[in-house]
Each structure stands twice: as C-alpha cells, then as structure tokens.
Homo-oligomer: 164 residues x 2
DNA sequence: GACGATTAGATTGTGCGCAATTCAATTGCC
DNA sequence: GGCAATTGAATTGCGCACAATCTAATCGTC
C-alpha cells in the first residue's frame, strides 16, 4: 500500500516534468517567428506588464526580474544579453545604485507585444483545458511550488514528526 | 475580459514551469547522497521497475527508455554515459540488432534501489498534497501533456475551427 | 571617515533538453 | 543479391538552470 502511494508520487512528479517539457515544445513552435524562447518570452511578459502606458515605463532591475520569475543572475545575465543583442531590451546601470542593472524595453521590444498577443490563445487551445480547470490547476501548482520552496529552507529530513 | 483569460493562461503555464523547477530543487537535495540528478533517477526508476526479480532482469534499449521518459538520444546518450561512468548501468550492443544499445543495471545500480526507497515519501511530504490531490493532479497533467503533444503534430495554426 | 558585512551582477562549470546532422545496421523492394 | 530507404545511437550546437565563486558598490557600526 505504501508502495502504491510511492509509485503514485513518482508519477505525479514525472507528470509535472513531462507537462513542463511538452508546454515548452508548443511554446517553441508558437514563439519561433518572434525569435523568442519560452524563458525569454516570460521576461518580455514581465517587462510588458510593468509599463502599461506606452511611453517610457519604469525599468526593472535584474533582481526584481529574478524575483518575479524565480530565476537567479546565473540564468538571467546571459539571457538578458541575448535579448539585448536581439535589440529587444536595454541594460543600464542604475545611477542611484551602481550595483543594480535596470532592464527596459527598446521600441522594438515594446512593439513585439502586439505580435505576441495571439500566443496565449493558441497555447490555451493546445492544452485542451477549460477555464475552470486552468484556474484550479494554477491554484494547486502555485500552492505546491510554495510548499516545495518552503521545504527547501528546512534542514533536510523534516518529512514527518519533529525530533522527540 | 478575454485579456483576463489570456493572463490566466500565461499564469498557468508559468505555474507548471515553476513547479517543475521547484520539484527539481527538492529532488536535487534528496538525491544528493545517491549521486543522482532527477533525470538520472528517472532512468534508474525505469530500470528498477523492469527487473522486479533480483536476478538478471531484461535490459532496455535506449529507444525504449526514451519512449518511457519522453526523451531522445541527444539527452539520453550522455546521461547514460554518466551513469555508466558512475558504475550504475552497463551499455552493450544488442547482438540481435547491432543498431540497438541495451541498458542494464550493474549490481551497484540494483543495490541503489534500496537506498532510494525513502526518497518518494520525502518528496510527497514536501509537496503538501494529499493522496487524492496527487491523483487528480497527475490525471490532469497527463491529459494536458497528451493534448500538447498532439497539438505539436498538427500543422501549426490549428487553434480553433477547422478550415471551412 | 574607515572597515567589515552585505548586496547585485557577472562568470564558470556541470547537466538537462532539443534540433539537426552523421553513421552504421537493418529492412524493403526490385 | 543489390541498392535505396529506414531505423537506432551518437554527436554537435545552442539555450536554460543552478551551484559556487568573484568583483564592485553600498551599508552599518564604530
């Protein structure tokens, strides 16, 4: 019986892993003519979101981007350099705190938003889910991610009863 | 309103992506003293499963492993070489079909199964889910993965109504 | 104001994942 | 039997992800 539970658990972890890769595959196709990968698209989404006006909305530091996307500088630094090389973002040192690098959109980066507009609908259709399932799935996964991140902060063996 | 839905869709995709990485992080810690990464652990799970007896259970080809794990040779070849270098698996050409490589467990690889036994329970605890939630989540994700893989086989723009 | 501690990014190294290509073995067709 | 097409692995190239380390800037404390 315990064996049953454990097998089930393995399957759900694998299911998350496999679903993530399958999503990545569909995004890869849908983003190809935008010249973006899925992680790059995520960065662009955050940037688009934070300048709802058109003008020169406020830029975000690498740290803020990392907090929003749960990524560290080891991932973001090279990714942002690629977006910069593609002409989509600018990276400038913050004059108020020279440790920070502020990431902002170029006109081309801002303009890309419109072309990316149809992507979510295609992905949504490809999942075969309805809206309430999406809502529920998001809620469950967000809770799980929080629990997993919390578990990582604990010693290491805190899976059950506290030490007596 | 539609915009709202699209945002939700972006969120659920990100939730899958983030949950997958969070899971990977917890597995990383739990598998550290086994010397395995999560993908390596998945390969070992498949091998352990396919030789339930103790003896010299049947080996699996790289192709069969790839089908079970949804991975291609570009990922599996170097991964299996690392497992081989670690002394956990053997790789031998199939004498019946010299194109195939059969992957089998070494005694050390088989022995590792026991030490890995406690891992699933720790992961399960870390997710904070109960058994029925796990079951439901697995079912939804498996369905989504199938739908996404199916969508990849279609032309590219088949998001809605078929052409009239 | 000087100095140790902290913080933000960048860099390096390792491994996963996939597309595209290559090569050898096998199969199919004539 | 001979040759083209197919199949199974391996390799190459690129990008993501994370740990560990490094550097420079800033902050705290005295």
């Amino acid at each position: 019986m315990e064996d049953q539970l454990l097998r089930l658990d393995n399957q759900v972890c694998f299911a998350v892993h496999a679903a993530s890769r399958a999503l990545d595959g569909v995004y890869r196709r849908e983003l190809r003519d935008l010249g973006l990968t899925y992680p790059q698209y995520l960065v662009m989404l955050v940037l688009w979101e934070h300048r709802p006006g058109g003008a020169d909305g406020r830029a975000l530091s690498v740290k803020e981007l990392g907090e929003a996307l749960r990524l560290d500088s080891g991932t973001l630094s090279p990714l942002l350099k690629r977006l910069e090389a593609a002409g989509l973002v600018r990276r400038d040192r913050d004059r108020r705190d020279e440790r920070s690098v502020l990431v902002g959109l170029t006109p081309q980066g801002a303009a890309l938003r419109e072309r990316a507009g149809r992507v979510p609908a295609r992905i949504f259709a490809a999942t075969g889910l309805d809206e309430s399932e999406v809502r529920h799935l998001r809620q469950v996964l967000t809770r799980v991610t929080g629990a997993l991140d919390g578990a990582l902060l604990e010693p290491a063996a805190a899976t059950g009863v506290p030490a007596r």
